[in-house]
């Protein structure tokens, strides 16, 4: 019915008493997500949202008290790395980090540490996850999607909403929508999510929304070509973007010719992915 999150997801919100944390917690509760705990250091013992969610000082105490198995983090960028490591150390299985603006060297260390611990991370700088009708973890507007059999994975935020919106408008439903985030170093990749959708009996077709930069789309193309049986429709943002400000010679050497939208579209098409010219064309290509 969904991947990564479902009705049984017991959610902990890191940074729950901040403006964004509080607002989106109320949205998630309203959607039906089981938000069992919040964490804000120094505010342990309080309750927020009319006494619906208890707040704890540390993730460890929150997990011990509530059995939370998933965390979503709205913690400010300068404390975000620590928050992810804290959740991982407390054996939270899935961490969804919404925070944007985390220094890339922090993320390189965090990603390595989380891999060693075996913790799955989605994000950072991502809109999170939505399994329509079951659970919402993050900030994707719930009302724009309905339950169905299309899996969506995206590096983008609002562009994803655009696609969800046009799917719903065309009468199509979604199994799970996964925003993996657009940062240079993040957790879960396209390939990770594609392989989950391939295994998921409740997903029939997949939408992949990529953008310029990096090689995640190229790896996805290789995976689709080698291991996927389900049809994939794609959109790559940035066809008209000017070549990015280059990072010296080293950047050019490391990135080589990769990262261009045209190249990503080419390899995805070779892998059998139907590429939309614009986001609102996706429902048509899924039919």
């Amino acid at each position: 019915m969904s991947i990564l999150i479902d009705e049984n997801t017991q959610l902990l919100v890191q940074g729950i008493t901040g403006r964004e944390g509080l607002f989106h917690t109320s949205q998630m509760l309203a959607y039906g997500t089981r938000v069992v705990a919040g964490v804000t250091p120094g505010k342990g013992g309080e309750w927020v949202l009319d006494g619906k969610v208890p707040v704890f000082d540390t993730v460890q105490i929150a997990v011990e008290a509530t059995g939370a198995n998933c965390s979503v983090s709205f913690v400010p960028a300068r404390f975000a790395a620590d928050a992810m490591l804290e959740a991982s150390a407390a054996s939270v299985e899935l961490i969804v980090c919404i925070t944007e603006g985390i220094p890339v060297q922090d993320m390189m260390r965090v990603r390595r540490a989380l891999d060693l611990q075996g913790t799955r991370l989605v994000g950072p700088n991502c809109p999170g996850l939505l399994s329509p009708g079951a659970s919402k973890v993050g900030i994707i507007p719930g009302h724009i999607a309905k339950r169905g059999k299309i899996g969506i994975v995206s590096r983008s935020g609002t562009l994803t909403y655009e696609v969800l919106y046009s799917l719903t408008a065309s009468g199509m439903g979604t199994s799970t929508c996964v925003g993996i985030g657009g940062d240079p170093v993040n957790g879960t990749s396209f390939v990770d999510v594609l392989s989950m959708f391939e295994e998921d009996p409740h997903t029939d077709k997949v939408v992949l929304i990529g953008e310029i930069g990096g090689t995640d789309e190229e790896k996805a193309a290789a995976f689709i070509s080698d291991q996927m049986t389900k049809p994939v429709v794609g959109f790559i943002a940035g066809r008209t973007a000017p070549p990015g400000k280059r990072m010296g010679h080293a950047g050019a050497i490391v990135e080589g010719g990769t990262g261009l939208a045209s190249e990503k579209i080419r390899v995805l098409q070779s892998a059998g992915v139907r590429i939309a010219d614009h986001p609102e064309q996706i429902p048509e290509l899924l039919q």
Binding site: H24, M107, A250, V254
Partner: protein
């Protein structure tokens, strides 16, 4: 954030990397004095944040202090790739025997830092990477373990550096790694790293790019920002936390989210239009931020039509509408504006805008098409 050569080299030196003696100057007389101090024979190097300074004549060898002052006067009047030269670095001239390359950057594919070395340093390093990739050697660095000396030896050996220079090379590689880590750089590069005829290794040129997201923990580096080098629009955008890139077209775009902003540009182009800019107002923007964003677009004389595409999630459409109205009031703009608002509080937003004279679109495709047609209408037939 890019650093100038002279700034990068000063930081390198703090981490034990040998650099030529030299100082920066903004007027020709100072250059003469510095050249005298340095013994007469110097290199005068324009300090602008673009590549290709040498080919543009922005790097010149001077044989005497008089000569240096003369060249500096010329260079300080130049523009390189549109950027006026406001400072020059005056470095002692050195006797170069060999030029090699050493750099460190993030490898996003393997999610770790990577150190890169080549025996073929100098301006043509990217050409070498294309035509003779074996001459480019990489060492991935475990993000938790950090750089280890044996890796420097591996690189020295792989680029066939003569053994008498290994110790010095390893020390420079260690220093470059420390620079990269301690400054939160996304790039730290020495090109060329020269071996002088006297047998010393010296960082002749240096380049650093700092992770903007990490500047909060490096106030001393943040202060190095050279605002003279920015487009005024970009400076204004940065001030309000907006992500803005100026482009060549005539349809100004205001969008929330980088992916959606790029997709909007793509769809404009698909309908025959040309975007005048990339502008992402980010998530949850306030009316004030929207006002400033729209102001930047309205002040761009190339812009003929404005397209506003907002998909409200964290961002509230009524807040966006308020910001639009404030900007219009402030600038008394007469430009045609196409607006598409969907998502959180979109009804309220549309109501607010109903009083203003602007076109509304239901879909992104429709909005782009309208904008492109408006431009054509305005164009002289």
């Amino acid at each position: 954030m890019k650093l100038h050569e002279y700034q990068s080299k000063q930081i390198f030196a703090q981490h034990g990397i040998p650099i030529p003696h030299g100082r920066v100057a903004a007027i020709a007389d100072e250059v003469r004095a510095i050249a005298e101090e340095l013994g007469g024979k110097v290199v005068v190097k324009s300090q602008v944040l673009v590549g290709g300074r040498g080919k543009a004549g922005g790097i010149r060898l001077a044989k005497t202090p008089e000569d240096a002052a003369g060249l500096a006067a010329k260079i300080l009047g130049m523009e390189i790739k549109g950027l006026p030269v406001r400072k020059v670095l005056v470095d002692e001239a050195v006797n170069i025997a060999t030029e090699i390359y050493l750099g460190i950057t993030n490898d996003r594919t393997s999610r770790c830092p990577v150190m890169i070395a080549s025996s073929e340093g100098g301006v043509d390093i990217e050409e070498v990477a294309r035509t003779d990739p074996k001459k480019i050697v990489r060492k991935r660095i475990d993000a938790l373990l950090g750089w280890r000396d044996y890796q420097g030896r591996d690189l020295a050996s792989a680029i066939e550096l003569p053994r008498e220079h290994w110790r010095s090379f390893m020390s420079i590689a260690r220093g470059l790694y420390e620079t990269y880590i301690e400054c939160d750089a996304t790039l730290a590069e020495i090109n060329p790293l020269v071996i002088t005829k006297e047998g010393h290794l010296l960082a002749l040129d240096g380049k650093m790019v700092i992770d903007d997201n990490a500047l909060y923990r490096h106030p001393e580096i943040a202060e190095m920002r050279d605002i003279d080098e920015e487009e005024p629009e970009e400076r204004q955008a940065r001030k309000f936390g907006l992500s803005y890139v100026k482009l060549d077209g005539d349809i100004g775009c205001l969008v929330n989210g980088a992916g959606l902003a790029m997709a909007t540009m793509d769809v404009i182009k698909l309908h025959g239009g040309e975007p005048a800019n990339f502008l992402d107002i980010g998530g949850g923007a306030s009316a004030e931020k929207v006002r400033e964003a729209l102001s930047i677009i309205l002040l761009d004389s190339n812009v003929k039509v404005v397209l506003i595409n907002i998909f409200g999630g964290i961002t509230r459409c009524d807040e966006v509408a308020r910001g639009i109205l404030e900007a219009l009031k402030k600038h008394k703009a007469k430009l045609p504006i196409v607006v598409r608002l969907v998502g959180t509080n979109d009804e309220e937003g549309r109501k607010l805008l109903a009083k203003a004279d602007m076109m509304t679109a239901k879909s992104l495709a429709e909005a782009a098409q309208m904008a492109a047609e408006l431009v054509k209408e305005k164009a002289p037939a």
